[in-house]
């Protein structure tokens, strides 16, 4: 068990550091790469929670597909040069700091940080059966569960998004 906790802290530190570097790094390509690292470590964290399917999907969708498109766009626009995007005289930075502090205060104030950790300790045995492909599939598509309709509606929403993107990209249809 101690090994697992050590692994958790290692992954947690790496993921938080890479997430910070995404925001703080000046070079957009490096930022995107740190986001990839962050997604990958997040997938590893899912694995330690036995959520194998979510971990694999996280890598395929976020690290493998979306971030490749991000990198593609950054390279195509040639934003790779350092200091290309330095944002002077912007209210973004102070606003971000204030909002982040407020978020942390609310989380700790409502006791979510500590209770969340306690809860994950308590239910780890029940969680460990919940992440395989079979259980996820059964939960999503079982007629007795309430998730089938929202899931299908989400798929329709994604389809609308695809059609919308094509309509906007094409001049003549």
């Amino acid at each position: 068990m101690s090994g697992q906790i050590a692994l958790f802290w290692l992954l947690a530190v790496v993921s938080v550091c890479s997430a910070l570097l995404v925001v703080l790094h000046r070079n957009p390509v490096r930022s995107a790469l740190f986001l990839v690292v962050n997604f990958f470590v997040l997938a590893l964290l899912y694995l330690t929670l036995s959520a194998q399917f979510i971990a694999a999907v996280q890598v395929i969708v976020y690290a493998g597909a979306i971030m490749v498109l991000f990198l593609f766009t950054i390279m195509l626009l040639n934003l790779g040069a350092p200091n290309a995007l330095t944002d002077t005289r912007s209210i973004q930075k102070p606003t971000a700091i204030v909002l982040a502090l407020a978020f942390v205060t609310i989380l700790t104030g409502t006791g979510m940080v500590n209770s969340g950790m306690a809860a994950s300790h308590a239910s780890s045995s029940t969680l460990s059966t919940g992440g395989t492909v079979q259980t996820v599939g059964l939960a999503l598509f079982d007629a007795n569960q309430p998730w089938l309709f929202p899931f299908e509606v989400t798929s329709v929403l994604l389809l609308i998004g695809v059609v919308g993107a094509i309509v906007m990209a094409k001049r003549r249809i």
């Binding site: 697992q4 399917f53 694999a56 890598v59 597909a65 490749v68 390279m75 395989t132 059964l138």
Partner: protein, 397 residues
């Protein structure tokens, strides 16, 4: 598999404990050593095979100076690459420039972790005999894991192209990312068809379900009237060639227009690592094709001579046949033009894969009894271990 008892390999029954070692628990470690060792040592052989086969097809002599029939040529090349000067061009983005050959190679190697390449039989303490698949990670996300690793592979090439500070490299990297994203869709849909036919994501289960004979292999499965399986496996094979950036889809490194594409600025061992990564991903893609479409480690049908060929030999033989097809394609087909490549991926393969998926799903639905009570899924839920990817194997059936 009662009908498979004839082979001499099946007669070798390991005890559960050899000295202090638990055989069942040691199999994944053994499999890791086998896969990494096989991939790393076979690459010079593959290069030799490629050169000789291409020479035969093009009516040339091929390598013939170092060793008999040029057998040692690849080893000589390896030694040369190892001792070559490591040139670093001006203006490269250093950390990424040095990382990208590693990123190109590691996902390809780790994708091999879920590919089963045979079975051994073990007599448990209780006296019963069980078949243990030779696989490093017998996880029930096996196939998605390979897809995930394949989707990470593009980073090696894109980052190499970007960090080299060279227009040709950048163009190669951009082409590669566009190409790999496009063909990943067709490949995923073809794989989805295979998953639908097999009813599992676990590659061991997928192979075992094709056990009886040739007619149950997914590429010609009689259950689905052969045609959808043939179409889906063909789509997979085409997309596989494009995913591994091999001719006729080797646009990212097209020599005639981009010098060498993404690895123009790489020399010595860094270049060798790109090479190893390419061959490793070829091997893994062929291994996946073997498991999913061509019956894994099983012989086509029972025959007295074939029974003496052990399962892993069948597996390696099938992988090598697909590698031969790779070389064959490279020797015979000219490189596609870029727009033709995109047209093939998006306008031909993707709709075809969707149609095949639809047909297989329809056949599957028609073959499933309509009775609602019996449609309750009967899947055995694997008992996951605490840390599934890192801990001991789970699936000992």
């Amino acid at each position: 598999m009662a009908q498979r008892d004839g082979t001499w390999v099946a007669m070798i029954i390991f005890p559960e404990h050899i000295g202090p070692i638990n055989v069942v628990a040691a199999v994944p470690y053994f499999a890791v050593l086998c896969i990494i060792g096989f991939i790393l040592t076979i690459v010079p052989g593959l290069i030799w095979i490629e050169r000789v086969v291409m020479a035969l097809m093009q009516d040339r002599l091929g390598p013939n100076r170092v060793g008999p029939r040029g057998l040692l040529q690849s080893i000589a090349d390896g030694i040369k690459l190892f001792f070559k000067e490591d040139v670093e061009p001006a203006g490269v983005d250093r950390p990424i420039y040095y990382l990208s050959p590693i990123i190109a190679m590691i996902p390809a190697l780790s994708a091999g972790a879920t590919i089963p390449f045979g079975t051994i039989r073990v007599r448990l303490e209780s006296g019963s005999i069980t078949e243990v698949p030779l696989v490093a990670g017998n996880v029930n996300i096996g196939l998605i894991f390979i897809l995930a690793m394949a989707s990470l592979q593009v980073y090696g090439i894109v980052l190499a192209g970007w960090s080299s500070n060279n227009k040709y490299s950048l163009l190669g990297g951009l082409r590669s990312s566009a190409q790999m994203i496009s063909y990943e869709l067709a490949m995923s849909l073809a794989l989805l068809t295979g998953i639908l036919m097999s009813g599992s994501l676990n590659l061991v289960d997928i192979v075992k379900q094709q056990a009886p004979n040739l007619l149950h292999w997914n590429f010609i499965s009689v259950k689905y009237f052969a045609v959808p399986g043939l179409a889906a496996s063909l789509i997979y094979l085409i997309a596989m060639v494009a995913e591994t950036n091999r001719a006729p889809f080797d646009l990212p490194e097209a020599e005639s227009e981009l010098i060498a594409g993404f690895h123009t600025e790489y020399s010595s061992m860094k270049f060798a690592m790109f090479f190893m990564g390419e061959y490793a991903s070829m091997l893994v893609a062929s291994g996946l094709a073997t498991c999913l479409w061509f019956g894994g480690w099983y012989a086509p049908f029972r025959w007295i001579v074939w029974d003496w060929v052990p399962g892993f030999m069948w597996f390696v033989g099938k992988v090598m046949a697909i590698i031969f097809a790779y070389v064959w394609l490279r020797a015979t087909l000219p490189r596609l033009r870029y727009d033709a490549l995109m047209k093939l991926g998006w306008k031909r393969l993707l709709p075809a894969a969707l149609v095949v998926l639809f047909v297989v799903a329809a056949v599957d639905t028609m073959q499933t009894p309509l009775d609602v009570e019996r449609r309750q899924p009967v899947v055995q839920v694997h008992k996951p271990t605490q840390v599934p990817m890192l801990a001991a194997p789970q699936g000992v059936r």
